[in-house]
Symmetry: C2
């Protein structure tokens, strides 16, 4: 099983992801928020890259079942119903709803990888479920870290490294690594004992704490509290199973 890691979505042309298995990671906070929303019963997430498009799409859908969520530079967009804090995506707010979702980095990564044969969304909070899904698939994959404004993020990279660690050391896969995957693996090993400290010390973590989201860092650094695997299906992100059963999702494969 060969694994590559892209530290930002910028480095690759989107067509090169066609026919590939892609895992998108944006620990702070888009992938954590997407997992949380679906775990709490949101029907689907509709990822879009621009605020304008988010407003346009939500206008076409039925108002009572659609929410607008996301951020620009960490802050909620005027006119949106929800920001990008996972704490906002409670069962009370999101159950049964479709959420049009646009964030600075995570949505761009998903957009870039939208031609993938299979696209899974990964965060620390659902990482063992994603590892189990990849174990079942048993084929090459690429991890696309969202990074931050086109640059490297340590928290996404360490999350990627933990995913590789789980596949290799828990599921027993013999992985072959690109240089970037190898680096991610080593960077996870260097932080395995204190994920929260690493998240707090990251550039993005410090920024979020400054603008009032210190509590989000704790949520985003928790490992394995939601056993679900969000998957892009057409243009929306959904689950394949009942989240209340807390079982690993069986991703379907686009052919």
């Amino acid at each position: 099983m060969h694994v590559d890691v892209h530290f930002t979505p910028l480095q690759t042309e989107e067509l090169s992801f066609r026919d590939k298995t892609i895992v998108v990671i944006d620990v702070l906070r888009a992938s954590t928020t997407i997992v949380t929303a679906l775990f709490n019963g949101a029907r689907e997430i509709i990822p879009v890259t621009t605020v304008e498009r988010a407003v346009k799409i939500s206008g076409r859908l039925f108002g009572d079942v659609v929410l607008l969520g996301g951020e620009r530079n960490g802050k909620m967009v005027q006119g949106f119903n929800l920001g990008n804090s996972p704490a906002e995506y409670t069962e009370e707010r999101v159950k049964g709803k479709a959420i049009v979702f646009s964030t600075t980095n995570g949505s761009q990564a998903i957009e870039k990888a939208r031609y993938a044969q299979l696209l899974l969304v990964c965060a620390f909070i659902n990482i063992s479920a994603v590892a189990a899904a990849l174990n079942d698939l048993n084929r090459d994959f690429i991890i696309v870290c969202s990074g931050r404004d086109g640059t490297f993020s340590i928290e996404d990279t360490v999350c990627a490294g933990l995913l590789l660690h789980l596949l290799q050391d828990k599921h027993g896969h013999e992985l072959t690594f690109s240089d970037a995957a190898y680096a991610a693996f080593l960077l996870y090993k260097a932080h395995s004992k204190n994920i929260l400290k690493m998240v707090k010390n990251s550039q993005h973590g410090k920024y979020l704490a400054e603008i009032g989201f210190a509590e989000d860092l704790k949520q985003c650094a928790q490992v394995d509290i939601m056993g679900i695997v969000p998957q892009l299906m057409g243009s929306v992100i959904r689950l394949k199973q009942d989240p209340e059963k807390n079982t690993v999702a069986q991703p379907i494969v686009h052919s």
Copy 2:
């Protein structure tokens, strides 16, 4: 002293390097070859991005003092005098010569950073000299790794990490790190005891060994065998001192 590391030259617009102090690293092999050529008495290196431009420029200069050097995908370009193996750049071949130089990755990184206030060329073979120059400058800088075809290279990153280690632990600077600089620092620590093994196991190292350049890896992995600092001056790379004295170059600063 704040430090950032770019894992590839792609992630940044060239104008954002204006007024910055930039260190360009391409361990395999452009920066190693540039250092070697200047150490062995080459008058200057003229970095250009395309083979066409290399041929055009060399045609305008006097034939007996100009050499064409470089590679595409590791291999010498037809009609060039030299490839990109540091072993070719002997005193006998290069002394007193200007070398028009074009490589797949390193020349692109130099081109991208050409508006820097100061651009230094760093490899393992001259790393303490570069650290000493940065120590004297005592100001923020950015390390631009050449990477490989727009992707991350472990050998450039570990070299960047060693440079940070020297500044912090030998020269006593209190560095503040971007996420990427912090990652480079950790990745150096993970490989500090065996640089050659890391270079041999890198994606690019394996490729070069496959196409017949295994010996180059040993040369490129040697630490501190040439105490010189190449610097971009206008459109050419030169030294500021006599390499035979083996003293640290004092870079001049463009104002």
